[in-house]
Symmetry: C2
């Protein structure tokens, strides 16, 4: 009879325990959890703060008593594991309730201690109103301050937890400022996708302080003043630190387990540490990045749960293996959704991996069916075989669906050519006959097949002075906003004005753009086939250009009604393209 | 310079035309459309009837004038193609406006005439108020009757168009009855998934008449009386026939093109008919079914659009090929969504393909985050290698997302083992840490690996009299409803009552069930490991059992409040299982 001790009773740990019991009715399974709660919904914490999940007990999925009754698990809370004698196979435990210390024998030890929020060594960071959010007690502390009358908050960190907490606090009516070191929110996204998110948060009343950091925290009569690198300072009733997490590796280090280059526990494909009697999983371990092949720390619930399962399998003599983590993630930001899977452009540049990219702005579902809005979808792929390397999407409806399809495609090793052929479910409330994922495949395949040459928003500043920049949108759209130095030749006039364009082409390159990149693609095809050689179309159009420059359309000098009309005109002018998106 | 004549200007035809122009700026492209409209949103027709799409012009994506201006296409509406001289390469056209006849030369001819609604030879079917819905004029005719005061309608046919029209008419306040020959709505779904849909339609006031057919239509003072096979008769102000479509093959037949065994035009991988100068695409052609490999008629917008593109490619000398159609489809039925991809169980039985199946009832997103409901997800897969053969889902939130992931998995040739490892996007508003697709993979892989033995709802009537049927739910759930002959041993009591179970096992087989199949799976693992050999768990649990028997829980003798409590109890008792679904 095997004796398995699991340290940590949330995602990976409880998954391992439950699966172990199902595979081995005889095993003795002990779960030691440092906190008061096991198996709670920690991704739900911000939503209880915000009141979306009204009942606190909804977050507590089970209790040690239930786990014993149904699964015959020995789950003990408030037990701190302070040491491991690997030779004697003994875990040293302190019972935090009684203060007593005891040893627990194991045949197999499973470490699933997770990660802990970073608290950078900034002066004053230990102020009692500078909080973090990782556990139910953390959540309780934030709610207690709100219930006690807190009316303002500063969130430090603009990644997942930071934006979720900012939203939650706004929903409770607090004035909220968000501070992020990078010049964008959601720093894992490439920058052009983050602009709309920033503006959406601003619209919802979050004060956005990007590209700056907290340099000090001061008490101001019980409130907190945060000094920023920018020279500004902010004062609020509470501060939530959400600047990332680091693996809880102190125990593993103390007992001599090997760590990986990023500071997480090193494990093999079976989630076994350098000691074959000790497994580890979840936020504390290093995984292989699916796309880059490099070691990575990726704190995600899905992988943690699946790793727990694999540990149970392997302990029970099965050959289950964990391959890699691709970093598929989603975050809700008020009415918007941001998602990613695989590598970002920033990551690919960092690792020196060749790539190509396209950006499109399709609707979540058929434009004529109410409730749909445009999303921005960026696809990264290999220049040689078109293999999909990564995708990011920001938008409203149907964003989470498309990233799951793309995540599956990456897992299957699909190329952009495969995306062209995917047969996805279509009815007007759900999608388009040519789904955004198909469209991304079409555009990317066009690029790889040489049917179009793209230029990118970041090339704008380096355009050769001899370049003729042509805006192929309508005169009305052009009048509302256009790139500096662009001339206007609307798509329908293009064939009639070939002489003019030929003359420009004799002087230098032709660079085209429109709102989202479709009319300029049509224009490219016309010009290229009529003998213009140095011509290219702006990938993602003006929308992506504005996103990269940190200026969303709404923030421009646009009359919003005109913008609406422009978009309608765009749809009309792109009629045939949209025809096959929208019809049937 | 190539001259391409396209007959039919909606999905496949306009896709071909637009792509042709982009690939070949010089080609002469003529589109001949019999109707007044081209490139309109015919999947949107029911939604304009229902008022969800308020403006009729939203359905008209473009006009011939726009198509000429932007794409230099020669699009002619109200042109009836009455013949083709294949030797002379001439299309004979009647201009329906002037009545004149003319010949149009082609180098390449593309037929995209679509399909036409079936009108079975039932007496009285030509009554002027027995309508169909395929085109804008069809829609206008239905709306005209509503505007003229129609207060009741009968919809004949309970597949896609039928249920969409029934919903639309209910939204306009009409009394609606629906008649379907099969004993279920959505006959492409396996029957156990259709029960909830039926009850949902009933809840929304649609009178459901299943397993019966219209035998005659009579005029009753301008209204229509429909006689049913069942002996009943219904009278209403209008009737909408939605009993399927058949390919428009009269022209193709007249000019001697080969048809396939199902009556559609036979085409090769490049969508070329038996005449290499004539291509065809869309609802009029036969395709290869992805899963069965057999010829099939599958009228779907996505494949039609992609086929049009492939035709354009091939005409322009490219090697693009269409592989197959897997039948991915989605339909909205009031607040519910029904989806499918690949083969159904009925289809697999028909073609004699070996399969295994599992059914699960996961939530659309984390149960503790509001707005989620259980879906019923059925997965069909190969018994040998676990290759996914088909999937069907019925539910509320997130149903369309999961079918797109499964459709992609089928296209990638993935197995149920691959589903276990998919890394899908998780945050509480969007999904679960172990997504329904992962869960389906886990359950199916458990079955194939022999970790569980399933029994199925359809086996119930044939259970050997020596069988002990054990309901492992709570006494309260058991008291509310249980299968006839079942005894109650709640999961937490199982280990303590092994003597009793051993005695039963000595007498005959043990068959377990619970609400959705998870507690009984845990019970299976306990009993199997404690030496019970002939034990099996009911796949999909009581919910699927009731679905197959055509009885949804709501229709049982349940106090609805108790049902709610039972489900809560289920969630609580399945705590660990749901723990790893819900946590983090």
């Amino acid at each position: 009879m095997k004796r398995i001790v699991i340290v940590g009773g949330v995602a990976a740990g409880m998954s391992a325990a439950a699966r172990l019991r199902r595979l081995d009715e005889q095993a003795e399974i002990v779960v030691l959890e440092r906190d008061h709660y096991v198996s709670y919904a920690n991704c739900g914490l911000p939503y209880h703060i915000g009141g979306v999940i009204p009942k606190r007990e909804s977050l507590q999925v089970t209790t040690p008593e239930h786990l014993r009754a149904t699964m015959n698990l020995d789950v003990r809370t408030e037990q701190d594991v302070v040491g491991v004698d690997r030779d004697a196979k003994l875990v040293q435990v302190v019972d935090l309730l009684s203060g007593t210390r005891y040893a627990e024998p194991y045949d197999v030890l499973v470490l699933t201690q997770g990660a802990t929020p970073l608290r950078p060594p900034v002066p004053g960071i230990d102020h009692p109103r500078v909080l973090t959010l990782r556990s139910i007690p953390d959540m309780d502390a934030i709610i207690a301050l709100i219930d006690a009358g807190a009316q303002s908050a500063i969130v430090i960190g603009g990644s997942y937890i930071g934006v979720e907490v900012a939203e939650a606090l706004r929903m409770r009516g607090l004035a909220v400022d968000l501070v992020e070191l990078q010049p964008q929110v959601m720093p894992l996204l490439d920058p052009e996708l983050a602009t709309d998110l920033r503006d959406h948060m601003t619209l919802h009343g979050v004060g956005m302080h990007l590209g700056t950091a907290a340099t000090a925290f001061h008490d101001r009569g019980g409130r907190v003043t945060v000094d920023l690198q920018s020279g500004d300072s902010l004062t609020a009733d509470l501060v939530v630190l959400a600047v990332g997490v680091r693996p809880i590796s102190s125990l593993a280090t103390a007992i001599g387990l090997a760590l990986g280059p990023r500071g997480g526990i090193a494990v093999d494909a079976h989630m076994r540490s350098s000691d074959p009697a000790i497994y580890a999983a979840g936020d504390m371990v290093e995984v292989t990045d699916t796309v880059t092949g490099q070691p990575a720390l990726i704190a995600l619930a899905g992988p943690a749960n699946r790793q727990g399962r694999i540990i149970a399998d392997h302990i029970c003599g099965r050959d289950s293996a964990y391959t890699s983590t691709q970093g598929t993630a989603v975050v809700k930001i008020f009415d918007m959704t941001a998602v990613m899977t695989g590598a970002s452009e920033r990551t690919l540049r960092r690792v020196g991996r060749p790539y190509q990219k396209i950006t499109i702005h399709p609707s979540g579902h058929a434009g004529y069916y109410p409730g749909s809005k445009a999303m921005q979808l960026k696809l990264l792929f290999a220049p040689d075989d078109g293999k999909i390397l990564g995708a990011q999407i920001v938008g409203y409806d149907g964003v989470d669906k498309r990233i799951d399809v793309l995540a599956t495609a990456i897992r299957a090793g699909m190329s952009v050519y495969d995306l062209e052929h995917l047969e996805l479910a279509y009815a007007p409330p759900y999608g388009s006959a040519k789904d955004p994922v198909n469209m991304a495949g079409f555009v990317a395949a066009n690029l790889l097949r040489g049917d179009v040459v793209a230029w990118y928003a970041e090339d704008y500043a380096q355009l050769d002075p001899s370049t003729t920049l042509i805006d192929v949108r309508s005169p009305k759209e052009y009048a509302a906003w256009h790139m500096a130095n662009a001339i206007n030749i609307p798509l329908p006039d293009l064939r009639a004005r070939m002489d003019e364009i030929q003359a420009a082409a004799a002087r230098g390159p032709i660079r085209l753009y429109c709102m989202v990149g479709f009319r300029s693609y049509q224009a490219y095809r016309i010009l290229r086939q009529r003998g213009i050689v140095d011509v290219a179309t702006l990938s993602g159009g003006a929308k992506t250009f504005l996103g990269l420059s940190g200026t969303s359309l709404a923030a421009e000098q646009f009359d919003p009604a005109l913008t609406e009309a422009d978009l309608a005109a765009e749809a009309q002018l792109d009629a045939v393209s949209f025809a096959f998106i929208r019809t049937i």
